[in-house]
Every structure is written in C-alpha cells, then in structure tokens.
Symmetry: C2
Subunit: 224 residues, 2 copies
Amino acid sequence: MQQAVQYQSGASTSGAAPETRYETILSASESVFAHSGYRGATMREIAERAGVAQGLIHYHFKTKEDLFEAMVARRSGHINDQRAHSLTLLFEEHENPTLESIVEALFRPTIVAGISQAGDGGAFARILVSTANSAGEWEQTLTEKYYDPIAHKYIAALVRIEPRLSRDNAVWAYMFAIGVGMTMMAKTGRAGRLSEGLCDDGDADIMLSKIVPFICAGIRALTD
Amino acid sequence: MQQAVQYQSGASTSGAAPETRYETILSASESVFAHSGYRGATMREIAERAGVAQGLIHYHFKTKEDLFEAMVARRSGHINDQRAHSLTLLFEEHENPTLESIVEALFRPTIVAGISQAGDGGAFARILVSTANSAGEWEQTLTEKYYDPIAHKYIAALVRIEPRLSRDNAVWAYMFAIGVGMTMMAKTGRAGRLSEGLCDDGDADIMLSKIVPFICAGIRALTD
DNA sequence: AAAACCTGACTGTTTGATCAGTCAAATATT
DNA sequence: AATATTTGACTGATCAAACAGTCAGGTTTT
C-alpha cells in the first residue's frame, strides 16, 4: 500500500501534524463506520466527509474491506501500544502490582481515547464492539489479528499476580472485563436514560471509578 | 401490521407448533439478521431461507425496518416475559431473595434461548448486542421500547435487596451485568480461541457458573 | 364470491469499483 | 540552467451488480 508523502507546502510553523489526505480519509472513515456500521457506511459518504473524490479512496485503499482494516490497524495500534507500555511499566516499577492497577491499565487508554479525544463520541469503541461481537469469519480474523495479542498479555498478567486464578478462569475474567468495558465505551446514553440523568457515561473518571472495583471484585470471586 | 391467523389445516395432532409462513419469515430473518447485521441482510436472502417469494415479506411486513422490529418484538417478548415471571416468583417465594438468584433470573432465559434453543448459535444475542450498542436513533428507540421496561424492573429489584446500593450504582451495576452477558451470549468462540480450548462458551451451565459469581461480587463492590 | 394469501417479474435507486485523463512535482537529459 | 520525461496524487464520469420495494395477476381459504 502506498503512502502519501506530500505535506502542506510552506513553512512548518504550526506544531500540529499536517494530516495527509491518506490520513484524512482514515479519520473520516472512522466516524462514518462508527455511525453507520461497516455495511451501512458508503464510500461516497466517507469521501464527502474527507473532502476528496471517491476515486481517491480506492486509489489509496483499493477496496472497502481494506480501508476498514487499515482504519482498525491504525487506531488499535495506538491504543494497544499504550496498553502494552503501561503493562510493562507496572511490572518494572512494582514487584507485585495490584489487580486494580492492571485493570485500570486495560481500560484507561480506550476510555480516554474514546471519550476525551477529539470528541469522537465513542466512535471507535462502537466499531470495536460490533467487530468483536460478530460471528463472521472476516470480523473474527480481524479481532484475532489486532486484539488477541494484547489479550494474551493481559491474561498472563492476571495469572501472574493472582496465583489462585486458574488459566481458564483468567480467560473468563478477561472476556467479562472486556464485555463490561466495551458496552460502556460505546456511549449510547442508555445509562443516563435508565437513571434519569444520574449516570453520565461521558465522564471517564467516574466511569473508571465504577468499572475498576466492579471488575476486580468479580475477578477475585473467580479465584478458588 | 397484519397478523397471520392461519394455521395448518387438519387436526392438531402434533404437539409441535405449526409454524405459519408469517412466523417462518420471522425465524428466517432472525438468522440472516444475526449473521449479516441489519444492513448486511437482504430481503432476497431472507426470502430464500424462508422458502417464500420476496414479495410475501413485503406483503406481511411492508418494509425491512418493520420486519426487523417485528422480529425483535417477538423474541424479546418471549425472553422478557420469562424474566418478569421469574423475578415476580422470586419475591413471592422468598422474603429476601439472594442477589445470586436475581442475577441468574436475568441471564438464564437469554442464555438458554441463545444456546440450547434450535441451535441458533447465539444469533439473537448478536442482534441484541449490535442494536443496544448502536448510537443510531432508531436502534436506541428500539432498545428503549423493548428492553428498558425490564431493565427498570431489575434495577428496582437490585435496590430492594441491596439497600446499601444507591440508585445510580444500581444502574451502573445493571449496565455492567448486561455488558458481560451480551458479550458472552454472542458466542463468537473467542473465549475458546484465547484459552486454546479450555473455555467453552457453548455450555450454558458452565458459563452461568462463572458469570453469576463474577457479577454478584462486582455488584457488592459497588455498595458502600 | 369475497377476502386473504402468495408469486415472479419488474422498477428506480444506490452501491462498490473502474478508468481515462489532469496536474504538479520530482527526475533525467540536453 | 533550461527542457523533456516519468511518477504519484487526484478527479469526475461511468459501470454492472445488488438493493428495497411495487404490482398485476394467480391460488387458496373462508
């Protein structure tokens, strides 16, 4: 796949990254895919949002499938790098990190990316949810490729700091944790609706302060 | 919306339900919607699987949207009836039912329906996941219409048997519980993949024996 | 015979993808 | 240092396939 090498002409006075058209398309596709789903999204709409001709998308990404995968790869790469980094850091700084710190390391990058970043309104989280929960072969291959590696790292970390947690229970724990996290990150506003405004799924810190104790207690209940 | 009132002619010798074409279409749409998503599913494919002409679907259900809603209404009706029934039963039989019995009442109908029934392979659960996690207005309206009422009942039940659980924490607890449940019911096979065969998301009893303690411990962690 | 059920061919639209051709910048040639 | 050539980025028009929905006209049930 070819990369756009051309940048804004003129001096690089601004510190902000000059987004190439290639990346503009990726960003546009992210919000359109998130809003309409993979099948509901159209190349025309993505092109329109990116402000480019539709043909250019096919020039850069060949097919809709390839565009989707490139978009997943870019975003999951960022998030998983952060996850792997904070996980390594935890074991370097402490002999025995707490379960709480590990669970927080799992969710903070995704929640922060989903909520505070560029006001995407949980767009990518919604993509993640629908991809990971699909039974389709293509979607499962994507999940395996971009999310299973980091999953194995977390499962290993769980087993390491909770010796009384068997390997299969660690996998269950991880799956349950992801289930909680993904549902919340999707930011559908249902929590607010059910609580008549009491619960705000737009506040990352409040959400983490609920999710982390919930999951940690759940995990400890699976130890024997 | 018109209802098919017609049943198989002749004596009702068989105990099995004589499925009308109307219901055959609903069942067919269920598996096609589950496999391809709302947008990915086509009326042609649904017609083919149901063994009827495509026009008949439009005759009975008018539009694709209406068909989808009718399908959700039928299935969620069954499941939520069971949920409401077992919830009422719990409070009739015991003064103070356990948290475990309530959580189990929440999941058993869906898991049993998803796993053991007619081998649908978690089809409906996958539809539920994608609908409830969508930010689209239509999908949220559907969720509100077919799932919020039973949600309120469960939240009330939680507050009642766990007085130290505040109302907002009860809503969080319910959302988290649903997150765990939906992810597992989707039966993507990821648990088996991550555990190299150790975890089987196709066994309803094993899954319940993991989910229920996990969620109950999580909920108790939210009491203060 | 009236009503409800059902079919298969059809319509207009939208879809992902293709393609010939424009353009500016880099590279090679004189 | 001026000119020719190649390259990669990009556009707008266009394609065949697939889509949801329609309809005139049969068939079965009441």
